[in-house]
């Protein structure tokens, strides 16, 4: 189905009866060239790039729930490429470039809104660190500028500039960062992958892998055995549970991250704003609700819900940064399960079992990575070689001592 302004008008006149479902509901075939386990953002993006850029179309995406029911439907929708390390930053900039063309490419309105991302700093040493980060961004071809107090007062006059404990000294500003309508990303990728013949099989849980002589040749599912030349796992918070079926222990802990939405307010917050002295970030959705978040709860969890101390902590951070939101009421909170890796960076790699591939360890930064993660994973699955912007996201970096530790916290997943 093609979307256009004319089509919207035409359907409006005809009572909107001509819209069709975006993807089929096929039963699994006996075998495929590639099976993607996990029908979330990254899995669907992988299927899309495989079918549209690498011309492999005999693919199935198997998903245990409904399409996009995991973290692609639970995140705070921010896109940005403001990383520091040379192993990370080019990858995220590649992702941001893919975001910029995503709607045209998918012919689907995913509301990519480059309204800017602002990271506020509160001390001289933090400014130095942000200058360094800004330079790293510029070197990767991304955009960045340093804003002083005056520019900040113009951009966000409601910040607490009088705060004596955490004085605001300025901010690092990335105008090309912003927000995206998260569900629409999954739907758009699903639509285009499906139109190239990819089978998206929902409510089909992988219960085991078919492995013989160290080679994977398919999966056992709740809808029967499906054979495949290659299997790519891409299941975020469930990574350890799924890979555990073939006895692979991952450098990953699953943690719960909570997100929050306030009641709807008039337009107030320009872009995305982050607090440098605590952990709090906020943007305003198109419906007017303030969408915000902070730290993970900090203990292993698969519960998809968090606890009160973190809610209190995040709200305290928000009020310290912008006291005015103290009067907004909290409408909803929810939790998602993050695959927190040991160094805070992801893995896109082969495994010790031949033809079984793994993509995970996105910590709580997976949403912005969706297009590049899909592209690089598709590249690995199609060619057998890592994409040049994801060449360091390998399993063996832990034993080789080549950690990609953006925060410098060591092997303590709840601190990344």
């Amino acid at each position: 189905m093609k979307y256009s302004g004319f089509k919207v008008l035409w359907e409006g006149l005809g009572g909107n009866k001509g819209w069709k479902p975006l993807w089929r509901k096929p039963d699994p075939k006996k075998g495929y060239d590639i099976i993607i386990v996990g029908g979330g953002g990254h899995g669907l993006a992988t299927a899309y790039y495989l079918s549209n850029k690498f011309d492999i179309t005999n693919i199935a995406v198997v998903e245990k729930g409904w399409l996009g029911s995991g973290n692609i439907g639970r995140n705070t929708t921010i896109i940005r490429s403001n990383y520091l390390l040379p192993q990370n930053q080019p990858f995220y900039e590649f992702s941001l470039k893919l975001w910029e063309n995503l709607e045209q490419e998918l012919n689907y309105n995913s509301m990519v809104s480059q309204r800017g991302v602002l990271n506020i700093f509160h001390s001289d040493s933090q400014r130095d660190a942000f200058v360094r980060r800004g330079n790293a961004m510029l070197m990767s071809g991304a955009d960045a500028s340093l804003l002083g107090i005056d520019a900040l007062k113009k951009l966000a006059p409601f910040l607490d500039f009088q705060n004596s404990r955490f004085p605001i000294k300025g901010g690092l500003w990335q105008p090309r960062g912003g927000t995206v309508r998260h569900d629409a990303v999954a739907w758009g990728y699903a639509k285009e992958a499906d139109s190239r013949g990819v089978d998206i099989i929902e409510n089909c849980e992988v219960t085991n892998f078919l492995v013989k002589n160290g080679r994977c040749y398919g999966v056992e599912t709740t809808k029967g055995i499906i054979k495949s030349k290659k299997v790519g796992v891409c299941v975020a918070g469930s990574s350890s549970a799924v890979m555990g079926k073939v006895g692979i222990n991952l450098p990953i802990e699953s943690h719960v991250l909570q997100a929050f939405v306030s009641e709807g307010l008039k337009p107030l917050i320009p872009g995305v704003i982050t607090f440098g002295a605590g952990h709090f970030y906020v943007s305003q959705s198109n419906k007017g609700g303030l969408v915000f978040g902070g730290d993970i709860d900090g203990y292993n969890s698969y519960a998809q819900r968090g606890n009160l101390p973190v809610i209190e902590d995040v709200c305290e951070g928000g009020v310290a940064l912008m006291p005015m939101i103290g009067r907004a009421r909290l409408l909803r909170t929810w939790g998602g399960i993050m695959d927190m890796s040991m160094d805070g960076s992801p893995i896109i790699d082969k495994t010790e079992i031949k033809n079984l591939y793994f993509n995970g360890g996105w910590c709580y930064g997976g949403f912005k990575a969706t297009p590049a993660s899909g592209f690089c994973y598709a590249h690995l699955l199609a060619t057998g070689k890592p994409h040049k912007d994801a060449k360091d996201f390998l399993f063996n970096r832990f034993e080789k001592g080549r950690l990609i530790d953006e925060k410098g916290q060591g092997n303590q997943p709840n601190l990344h």
């Binding site: 203990y299 101390p309 040991m342």
Partner: protein
């Protein structure tokens, strides 16, 4: 979450610091065979189960004891709480 401390009774989890899988109590002997891969496993690899998990909590804002908490990661239900020093002494005595 309330953690039923063996000495102090029910205490709020916000008094504690979380350190992850209790397997960290069993540091490999540096003189043993294949020590490199054992330390990679010790330092970086985790079972990370969805279900029963034995894990280390440090009562930093309390009596400064290390606890081994057995908890269900799917429901957050706490099933058992032990003093890590007692467990470790038992292991060492064997």
């Amino acid at each position: 979450m309330l953690i039923d401390h063996p000495l102090l009774g029910l205490r709020d989890s916000s008094e504690f610091i979380y350190m992850g899988d209790a397997k960290l109590l069993n540091r490999p002997n540096w003189r043993s065979q294949n020590i490199k891969s054992k330390f990679v496993e010790y330092g970086y690899l985790r079972k990370n189960p969805a279900g029963i998990h034995k894990e280390l909590w440090y009562h930093e804002q309390g009596d400064r004891s290390w606890l081994v908490v057995t908890r269900n990661t799917v429901t957050h239900e706490i099933l058992k709480v032990e003093l890590a020093r007692n467990l470790k002494r038992k292991v060492n005595a064997k």
